[in-house]
C-alpha cells in the first residue's frame, strides 16, 4: 500500500497532465455533432462533400472557413448572406469543446488530433490515393458513421 499510493498518484497526475496537453490543445470535441443539427448546414455543406461536424474544429476556424466560401479550397462554394449567417451561427455555437489552443486551422486535416490519429505509421499513405478514398476529406470512405458524427475506431473499414 505504501508503494502503490504514490504510484497511483503519479499515474493520475501524468494522465491528467497528458490530457491537458493532448494534441497541443488541438483536440476535436466530444460529441462532434450536437443532437439537434441545423437543416441548412446539413443541406448546404453536404453539396460537394460530407457535412463536416462542427466539433472537429474550433469556432475561430469555422469563422475563417465561412468568410471565404467564394474561394473554398479551390472552388466557389458561395452562399446567400442569409444562409451563410445561419450556418455560421450553428458552427460557432457547436465547435470543439476540447480545443484549448489558439491555432485555428482552415483544414480539418491540419488539426493536431487529425494528424495524430492518421499517422503514416498506422495508415499506409497509398490508402489516401485509392480511387475509393481519393481525399482525406472523404471521411465516409473509412468511417461509415462520419456523417452522423461517429468516428470511433471500432467502426473503421478501410476500403480496397
Amino acid at each position: 500500500m505504501k508503494l502503490i499510493k504514490p504510484l497511483l498518484l503519479a499515474v493520475l497526475a501524468a494522465t491528467s497532465l497528458g490530457a491537458y496537453a493532448k494534441y497541443n490543445g488541438e483536440d476535436r470535441g466530444r460529441p462532434t455533432l450536437p443532437s439537434q443539427v441545423n437543416a441548412k448546414w446539413q443541406a448546404e455543406c453536404s453539396g460537394c462533400h460530407m457535412a463536416f461536424p462542427p466539433g472537429l474544429l474550433p469556432a475561430a476556424s469555422w469563422k475563417k472557413v465561412m468568410s471565404g466560401l467564394d474561394k473554398h479550397f479551390g472552388t466557389d462554394a458561395s452562399l446567400s448572406p442569409a444562409d451563410s449567417a445561419e450556418i455560421t451561427d450553428f458552427l460557432v455555437k457547436n465547435p470543439s469543446n476540447r480545443w484549448t489552443s489558439n491555432a485555428a486551422p482552415l483544414r480539418i486535416t491540419d488539426a493536431q488530433w487529425f494528424k495524430a490519429k492518421h499517422m503514416s505509421g498506422e495508415i499506409n499513405p497509398a490508402v489516401w490515393k485509392r480511387e475509393s478514398v481519393k481525399s482525406p476529406a472523404n471521411c465516409m470512405a473509412c468511417h461509415g458513421g462520419a456523417d452522423k458524427g461517429v468516428f470511433d475506431e471500432h467502426g473503421i473499414k478501410i476500403p480496397k
Binding site: H49, M50, D70, F73, T75, L79, S80, S135, N138
Partner: protein, 134 residues
C-alpha cells in the same frame, strides 16, 4: 347536371396540356425574358450551344468532369468523390425546379469551370440542352 358532361372534356384538355406543362420550365422562361431585355438581337436558346458549353473545358474542369458526359448519369465530384445526383430533369425531376438553387450553382460552377460568371444566354443554352436530354 352539366358538370357531368363537362368532366370528360376537362380531363381530355388536362391530358393534352400536361405534357406541354411538363416541358416548359419557368426558370428557363425567366432567363429568356432576361436575355431579351439584355440583348435586342436575342433570338432563342439552342440545344447545340448548350451541349457545347457542357463539354467546354476551362483551365482544369468541364461540366462533364463531375457530371459525366451525360447529364442523365450519376456524377462524382472530381475532388471529394461525393456522388452527384443526375442533372437531367428527365431522370431527376428535382433539378431546375428552384430558381435560387439554379442561380447558386451557375455562379459556383461557371466560376470553377470558366473562371467567370455565365451570361444569361449561356445559362439558357445550358438549361435548354439539359432539359432536352431524355
Amino acid at each position: 347536371m352539366t358538370t357531368r358532361h363537362h368532366t370528360p372534356h376537362l380531363l381530355a384538355c388536362l391530358a393534352l396540356a400536361l405534357p406541354l406543362a411538363a416541358a416548359a420550365n419557368p426558370i428557363l422562361d425567366a432567363y429568356r425574358a432576361q436575355a431579351k431585355q439584355e440583348n435586342a438581337a436575342f433570338k432563342d436558346f439552342t440545344v447545340a450551344a448548350g451541349q457545347k458549353l457542357y463539354s467546354t473545358k476551362g483551365a482544369e474542369l468541364s461540366c462533364a468532369s463531375c457530371h459525366t458526359d451525360s447529364p442523365k448519369a450519376e456524377g462524382k465530384h472530381v475532388k471529394t468523390n461525393k456522388v452527384i445526383a443526375p442533372m437531367a430533369p428527365s431522370v431527376n425531376p428535382k433539378r431546375f425546379s428552384d430558381a435560387a438553387n439554379v442561380e447558386k450553382w451557375f455562379k459556383r460552377n461557371c466560376n470553377d469551370v470558366l473562371g467567370r460568371a455565365c451570361s444569361t444566354q449561356e445559362k439558357g443554352d445550358f438549361m435548354t440542352y439539359v432539359l432536352s436530354v431524355k
